[in-house]
Symmetry: C2
Subunit: 396 residues, 2 copies
């Protein structure tokens, strides 16, 4: 059993949107395919994944560094010890051959795409959805799942800034999400004055049915004083959480804010390694049983590393319900379902073709249930069908 080819393509994100810091219209994502020598219905079984959203395609790092390492490796070195399946951990490790420690940036997304594609491939070989395959692999003695999944909590992340009629357009946006079945929401802050932002918060909280259903995201924009000034008003408003107030690596700022902000803080989407996560847990003053961790496997070396992050979080007193990964797409939906995490994000309508779920997933009353397609079910997602066909056109 072996990988016979690895394909990669950078894909432009569609839908023009900006947060307080970044205009995403220039962004790209790497989609990768691990083509195996195993066949089903006359076609090779192929594992597919991508490097989440927000940090660009990693074509250079993949093609120049990582794909040659994997293609040169002895085929059996990419399998599990029993040689019954491909090993996501081995794929990640071999992709990282001769890479120095530290500097967890772009390459963490490149490895993640490969590692997650290995999970997709294994699940397809086992002919089961990725969530079930992940759960059975990680917890073989306890994987006794109900016939019908209860679904995992999901929130709609949006609440963008508009050039005119801000509050009307914000209302329209959130009402559209509510009509789709969302009950919880997140909006941007930090792109306007504090008083304007608090008007946005109040507008959004009314539509959400209370601020306890509304999170806010500053995308790392604030200095300490601004973070505290916003914190005072956000705590009074009672928002569900206050996300990335300062630079994502500024543990000192977060620790100081945590001493005065009585509500829930959330961060982690821009930490891409186990050691960065351990530093966050050790130095940022986050409160077990209160604050939220949002590391994204697709940006941080994949599920193997994410499991180590969960272990570090548990050691620090955080439960899995406090882990709500960044990245609103099918891959993280399966991971959240398999690991019974606190919930997942969704970006309704934006970050296409990767954002959101397939029509076969059901979204009801703020909970989403993955379909029973094998793997992550990316092939079912309407916007991805042509992308995947293009990627595989010479392989099938």
């Amino acid at each position: 059993m072996r990988i016979s080819a690895i394909l990669e393509q950078p894909i432009q994100l569609q839908g023009n949107m900006a947060n307080a810091v970044v205009d995403f219209s220039s962004h790209t994502v790497s989609i990768v395919a691990l083509v195996s020598d195993q066949r089903r219905n006359g076609k090779p079984v192929v594992g597919i994944a991508f490097n989440s959203i927000g940090r660009f395609a990693q074509s250079g790092i993949l093609r120049q560094r990582m794909l040659p390492r994997l293609l040169r490796a002895a085929p059996e070195s990419l399998l599990n010890p029993e040689q019954t399946a491909f090993s996501p951990a081995a794929v990640a490790k071999i992709a990282m051959t001769n890479e120095k420690p530290g500097g967890h940036g772009d390459r963490a997304g490149a490895v993640a795409a490969l590692e997650l594609a290995t999970w997709d491939l294994n699940a397809k070989l086992a002919d089961e959805p990725a969530w079930a395959h992940i759960a059975k692999t990680l917890y073989p003695s306890t994987s006794n799942y109900p016939d019908k999944l209860p679904g995992v909590p999901v929130y709609a992340a949006g609440g963008y800034y508009y050039p005119t009629n801000h509050n009307d357009q914000l209302s329209d946006e959130l009402l559209a999400y509510r009509d789709q079945g969302y009950t919880d929401f997140k909006i941007k802050i930090g792109g306007a004055s504090l008083s304007e932002d608090m008007q946005r918060v109040n507008t959004a909280a009314r539509i959400a049915g209370g601020a306890q259903h509304l999170a806010v995201d500053a995308n790392g924009r604030f200095d300490g004083a601004t973070a505290r000034a916003y914190g005072q008003e956000l705590a009074a408003a009672g928002v569900r959480w206050y996300e990335e107030p300062g630079d994502p690596l500024d543990y000192g700022l977060m620790a100081k804010l945590a001493t005065t902000y009585s509500g829930t803080l959330a961060t982690g989407e821009n930490l891409f390694s186990v050691i960065d996560t351990k530093n966050l847990l050790q130095f940022a003053g986050l409160r077990p049983q209160q604050d939220l961790l949002q590391m994204d496997p697709g940006l941080s070396y994949g599920l193997t590393a994410y499991l180590e992050m969960l272990t570090a979080a548990k050691t620090a007193g955080f439960s899995r319900k406090q882990c709500i990964p960044h990245g609103g797409h099918l891959i993280n939906l399966h991971i959240v379902t398999a690991l019974e995490l606190g919930g997942c994000e969704s970006y309704p309508g934006v970050f296409q073709p990767f954002g959101g779920y397939s029509p076969q997933c059901t979204l009801t009353n703020g909970r989403v249930i993955p379909s029973d397609a094998p793997g992550f079910g990316l092939e079912q997602k309407t916007e991805l069908t042509a992308v995947i066909a293009g990627l595989l056109k010479d392989a099938m």
Copy 2:
């Protein structure tokens, strides 16, 4: 005045060497050229630099993300406010357009190559060596330099592992460095047992004329217990410094080690941003007036960001003499000379064509003096001549 073209080429490192973690024979470096519309002697003035050593070429990030941003920018936006020179800070900032905060890895080297090439370009336009140009630009009121530079302290980094006759070959290697004029040395540890490594340390210390002229480098390999066990023996031996004992981001490990290790600790070459440096200074227990900081401008967004790191170090009580950048090459020699830092690294004979200095630089009794070539003088370096000619073949 404008940038008319930006060129980039990945260059394979020559010389097979390995540290405790990484085999460098597969490594590459990006060399970049900023071709200006200014002409001297009938040819365009071109700024040249590269992304230091150890983290691979960044062709993908440069070509897909950063070069288009710079080439699309209004030409005057890349100049200083007086419009008299190109602005390294503006080049770095525009190269980072729409990049999210956090995740300081590969892209930090990509930006660094561009930012440093801007310094080279400005120095060539002013027809002066980069060290003098940097000093005059940063400290216009105090740049009254001696006719003859005193030279900056330099140490030879090597001390590799050999398959056979370890100690004999280690001796031969260091003796060769001594013959070239080096008085201070650094060797690898962590690739053998503690007792074997201490034999290496003792062998090397004899050639160095005492352990106070010998540093050791574990390249981030040890866990806390191993780091402390080595520390006990290294402190007794009296080595000059003990470098990167654990994972470069494991501030907790370093802080614990600093409470028991009485000698000098050194780290920072794998921290690529100002905020990572601030975290190191805040959480890793490093001791002002004792420990050393080795951040490398060529891996961490360039000189503009490095100056912010120096400010953070000063605020934390560290002097410039405690800053000895990683990366033994001409670019850092000019930076160390201009900023009067504590010294610089050299890799005699290896990491070619980038490692080491040009024949016009003088190395005497452990001090090195840059030549008076304009810019970083990369064109004078024998091993780089053909590389630069190849890069510029269509531009000149």
